[in-house]
């Protein structure tokens, strides 16, 4: 069952998107630069394992990764995250949240002129470090910042 689902997810994930892109004439085979959806990393339940499985194991701390996140999240379901990597040759920016059930949130592979800069919005279960992983020149770097998440429900 589990294996079936894994196979299904794999084919529905990366390969599917690539097929769409190729079908639409947007990509030529060979231009695609990401691997299949990394189920092992995304389903890992601790951040160290998730980072290792996603290729950020043993990442060096870096001050050239700037993270803009709230101090206190207005809503854990909608936490803005802005990452700037000043590390030359940045190819990947990944987001991890230590205290989420599954800490790996996303991995963005960038190329063809894309700057080391990603903005998105994420869900956080509770107060946690938001940890950023960056890959550049075959090496992994990391930085983190804490975001407090309160149990809301009465705001307005």
């Amino acid at each position: 069952m589990n294996q079936l689902r894994r196979t299904f997810l794999k084919s529905a994930g990366s390969l599917g998107a690539v097929a769409v892109a190729v079908g639409a004439g947007l990509l030529r085979p060979g231009q695609v630069f990401a691997a299949a959806w990394n189920k092992v990393a995304f389903t890992a339940t601790n951040v160290t394992e998730a980072m290792k499985e996603a290729g950020y194991g043993g990442a060096a701390d870096s001050k050239d990764i700037l993270i803009k996140v709230p101090e206190i999240a207005e809503n854990g379901a909608l936490v803005p995250v802005e990452v700037t990597s000043k590390i030359a040759g940045t190819t990947n920016i990944a987001i991890f949240v230590d205290q989420n059930q599954n800490p790996m949130i996303a991995d963005f592979e960038i190329g063809n002129g894309t700057e080391g800069f990603i903005v998105t919005r994420i869900k956080m279960n509770k107060t946690s470090l938001v940890r950023i992983g960056v890959k550049a020149g075959g090496k992994a770097y990391t930085a983190s910042k804490e975001v407090k998440v309160t149990v809301g429900g009465c705001g307005g």
């Binding site: 529905a12 990366s14 639409a24 991995d107 002129g113 700057e115 998105t120 869900k123």
Partner: protein, 104 residues
């Protein structure tokens, strides 16, 4: 039905500022339906490919913890007005979405 996604791409100097908002429930699989007390199955975009004039500029892998109606913003150096942005997404149940925009 509302569109699959909204794309805003504007030149700021020699950099294209691209902002994408996608129409997707991003169900985590961790929530229970209060009526049935059963978990609502996970349903989330797990792959995003963005190209500029056919060349991939961002290819993302996502878990379920990207917020509902996902937002993605990034910048591409060396782009110019008139360039074509194309976005394709696939979710964990095989659902696909596409969007296109011209850099303004």
């Amino acid at each position: 039905m509302a569109d699959d996604m909204k794309i805003r791409a504007t030149m700021q100097g020699d950099v294209a500022d691209v902002k994408i908002l996608m129409n997707h429930i991003m169900e985590t699989g961790l929530r229970k339906d209060p009526k049935t007390d059963k978990f609502i199955p996970a349903h989330f975009i797990n792959e995003v490919v963005v190209t500029l004039n056919g060349k991939p500029v961002v290819q993302a892998q996502w878990g379920y913890a990207i917020s509902k109606n996902p937002f993605l913003g990034f910048r591409v150096k060396g782009a110019k007005a008139g360039d074509k942005i194309a976005v394709s997404t696939v979710d964990n149940l095989g659902g696909k979405m596409q969007g296109e925009a011209v850099v303004a």
